[in-house]
């Protein structure tokens, strides 16, 4: 190989290395930016969760997924600050049989007593609680009346 050719090849190799370094720098910069974005996203998510954890007092419609089959109606009424008549009215209108133990009975026990599915009743109660908050701006009479609407036709 001629001396001139050697110099050109060396120059091109140097340019290639510089280019690779530049590309790598650019790539890491973009990746870092993405990582920063991801970290920012995580932090804001964590902050939101922390803010949610700090919230005390009655639960709201956002927390309705918290309702589970082992929970009693009395507890749901207290935790969500719902008048006892609302769910009682809902059950009277949407479940074929009824239990006289209401509200001191769990959803699963109520389902067993009324020969309905515990999972389905839990979903129904969750929907009823959500519906309560959706119409909470209306008068109490409307709230009780709204519980008579069938959620599961």
């Amino acid at each position: 190989m001629k001396k001139e050719t050697k110099i050109i090849v060396a120059f091109l190799a140097l340019v290639l290395i510089i280019l690779i370094v530049q590309v790598w720098r650019q790539y890491t910069f973009i990746q870092r930016a993405q990582t920063i974005q991801a970290i920012r996203g995580h932090i804001s998510q964590d902050m939101q969760q922390l803010a949610a954890l700090r919230r005390r007092g009655p639960l709201t419609a956002v927390d309705s997924s918290y309702i589970q089959a082992w929970m009693t109606f009395d507890y749901i009424n207290t935790a969500f600050n719902i008048p006892p008549g609302y769910l009682s009215n809902y059950l009277a209108n949407n479940v074929r049989d009824s239990s006289d133990q209401y509200p001191h009975i769990s959803i699963s026990h109520y389902a067993r007593e009324t020969a309905t599915s515990s999972a389905a009743l839990t979903i129904d109660i969750t929907s009823a609680v959500q519906a309560y908050f959706n119409v909470s701006s209306t008068s109490p009479a409307t709230l009780i009346a709204s519980s008579t609407n069938e959620l599961h036709p």
């Binding site: 005390r56 007092g57 009655p58 639960l59 589970q68 082992w70 507890y75 207290t78 699963s108």
Partner: protein, 199 residues
Amino acid sequence: MNFILSTLLSYLLLYKYATIFVVVLAAAIIVPVPDSTLLVATGAFVSQGYFSLTLALVVALVANVLGDLVGYTLTNRWGYKVVKEHHVRKMPYFNRVEQFLRSNAGMAIIVSRFVGTVGPLVNFLSGLADIPLSKFLFFDVVGNAVDIAGLLIAGYILGQYWQDFSGFVGLIGWIIVVAIVMYAIIKISKATMTKKSIS
């Protein structure tokens, strides 16, 4: 969530403090019930205004101390007789454990309150090692108060998210168990090595 825990939670919501008393008492004696999870749940219910923090703390503390006293009294009264009959006292390892408990009674009683499975065993051993009742009661009340208050406050802080973190309670418990066992092994083996070197 398993069947036992969901049933206990239903009972907790129905019979409130009576359930706390019965479950914590049973756990303190040696019945394997998820009392720690139940107390975290109670803390969450306190944050929603369904339980009183003070009452829950007092009921759980009384039940725990009573249950611990049952274990302590049983072995303190009849344990020695049973041990003598079965020649357990002649075993060198048993003597070392007894000696360890006598010299580290306070630490052993307090730390074991945080681990459901180890607590009742330490109660039995404390009775057997003839740890004075006043000393046992003092450390038992202090350890239980800190443990119960910690679980209730954790539940209170977590609120409706308590179920997402209930697994950590067990994990922390097991970490403490491993730490206690390691500490005991190091202490006992050190004592054995010192004895050997003297002899």
